[in-house]
């Protein structure tokens, strides 16, 4: 009898890992997309998510807007923030050394964190929405996580369709392969950069909607999301969208199942040890981009 309970908990951990994987894949997609096109890693990407979570909380709890509108505006706010980030922070340093570009986005990370602390304080905030658990036999799964998974996968699928079917999406895929000749095709690279930044921001805003249903908001929440997102992208091969997608699920399983066998914190430790080991074995990423 004891083994069967154990099995159910293990299955639950695997399923939770799968659900977490979808959310992490969404975060990785946004970061990867921006890196693939503009060649700059937004270290502050998770802080955009944090701002989005606060925006939704402020609109819904403080201003009394319906939650759906809060979500909609939240996505728009972060998309605009992404465009602003590109226009005023990244564009001036496009020709600079990569380390300087990285430092600039690092500066934005601390700025956003500090700004959120000043404006919203250090208290934990939440929407006060409690979503029920879904019980299937002896399994119990959070419905917020299930919704997050479905929406994240749908958004990833939608982004994929956008990239593969539309002219703009095709240009986004092309520009990472040869930026120099894009003007010959009538493509204005600056415009593609701006739109990609807004799209990456929009995806961060959507992630904020999904996260705010599961977690409390505080100014440092980006620090628990950012490093994981970045490591997933590196693991999948920076800029490789499919690699990032797969790596998110691998990483989520390490966190979830690792946390099941030991403790939750240990799940992260195991995942990071796995990451470091992989960096020795395959430094170009688990699913290296074909060159």
């Amino acid at each position: 009898m004891e083994t069967s309970i154990f099995d159910i908990f293990l299955l639950e951990a695997v399923l939770n890992g799968l659900l977490l994987g979808g959310l992490l894949a969404l975060l990785a997609l946004g970061l990867n997309l921006i890196f693939g096109v503009i060649d700059v890693v937004w270290i502050c990407y998770a802080e955009l998510v944090m701002i989005g979570m606060y925006a939704i909380w402020w609109l819904h709890v403080q201003q009394g807007l319906p939650l759906a509108m809060g979500f909609g505006f939240g996505i728009v706010v972060v998309a605009v923030l992404g465009a602003v980030m590109h226009q005023f922070i990244i564009r001036p340093v496009l020709g600079a050394e990569p380390i300087n570009q990285l430092l600039v986005t690092g500066g934005v990370l601390f700025f956003l964190q500090a700004a959120a602390t000043v404006v919203f304080g250090v208290e934990f905030r939440n929407l006060g929405v409690r979503m029920p658990s879904v019980v299937i036999g002896e399994l119990s799964l959070s419905s917020a996580r299930m919704v997050a998974f479905v929406v994240a996968i749908a958004a990833i699928g939608g982004t994929w369709l956008f990239l593969s079917r539309t002219y703009l999406g095709t240009a986004i895929r092309a520009i990472s392969q040869d930026r120099g000749i894009m003007p010959l095709m009538g493509v204005n690279p600056g415009r593609i950069y701006l739109l990609t930044s807004a799209l990456g921001g929009g995806l961060a805003g959507l992630a904020a909607c999904l996260l705010v249903l599961q977690y409390d908001i505080h100014p440092a929440i980006g620090l628990s999301l950012g490093p994981i997102t970045f490591l997933i992208c590196v693991l999948g091969g920076l800029g490789n969208l499919i690699g990032g997608f797969l790596a998110a699920f691998v990483f989520a399983q390490f966190i979830s199942v690792g946390g099941f066998f030991f403790q939750l914190e240990w799940g992260y430790v195991i995942a990071f040890v796995f990451f470091i080991a992989m960096m020795f074995w395959k430094p170009e990423g688990l699913f290296a981009k074909r060159r």
Partner: protein, 234 residues
């Protein structure tokens, strides 16, 4: 159709072009020939505004476009097949052609032009779902030319289309010049393969160390003693 006058350009402190002037009339095929490093590619890059000239003017069908942003040049009806083909290696042939039809006016006629490109290059239809990076050199050149045709240009700029290709493929690429002319395209081609290119163009300019040294009908240049001695080794 195209008029370049007094064009000077370079990279940093290095000047590659010194007051180059040339003209291409509608329906003509014109070549710019010359040795390696003469500034031929620089000239094409300046004409398509990828490179900012330091002096001179560019005019297309009577319109001065010397200050136009590079991505708007295609709107004048000028398309360039860049040196080294520069396909997007991890995009399929069809997606490469799709990028060629990126401008709003080209999108409207995407299907029709795709059909035209496939009729011109049946090989591209066979390979349409293959990554462009996996094509042979000659096929890549076809794809690159096809991509430039997707915007429905009036003037086609070709930068060393024969470079790095096997002799037999070079023949077919130059044969293609005739086809394009028959289709009504005006062509400005930059080539090192002087003997071959002079057989398919009407006129040519000889560019040496950034200056136009000679110009005239292709047959005249082909027969000229100094060109034969200096470039054709006869």
């Amino acid at each position: 159709m195209l008029e370049v006058s007094g064009l000077s350009a370079g990279y940093g402190s290095f000047q590659a072009l010194f007051g180059v002037s040339l003209k291409v009339e509608a329906g003509e095929a014109v070549a710019v020939i010359g040795p390696n490093g003469a500034g031929k590619s620089t000239l094409l890059r300046a004409i398509s505004r990828l490179l900012e000239p330091t002096a001179g003017t560019l005019t297309m069908q009577g319109r001065d476009y010397t200050r136009l942003p590079a991505h708007e040049v295609i709107g004048l009806g000028i398309a360039q097949v860049p040196e080294g083909r520069r396909l997007f290696p991890r995009l399929s042939v069809e997606d490469n052609l799709k990028i060629g039809a990126y401008t709003p006016s080209a999108r409207a006629r995407h299907a029709e032009r795709l059909e035209f490109v496939y009729s011109l290059f049946p090989k591209m239809l066979q390979r349409r779902l293959q990554d462009a990076g996996t094509l042979s050199g000659g096929e890549q050149q076809m794809c690159a030319i096809g991509r430039a045709l997707m915007c429905g240009p009036r003037l086609l700029l070709l930068d060393e289309p024969s470079a790095g290709l096997a002799p037999l493929i070079v023949q077919s690429i130059f044969g293609l010049m005739r086809t394009l002319r028959a289709q009504g395209y005006t062509v400005l081609i930059v080539e090192q393969n002087i003997q071959q290119v002079l057989k398919v163009v009407d006129r040519a300019y000889l560019l040496e160390t950034g200056r136009i040294r000679r110009s005239g009908p292709a047959a005249e240049l082909l027969a000229s003693q100094d060109i034969r001695r200096a470039y054709l080794g006869v």
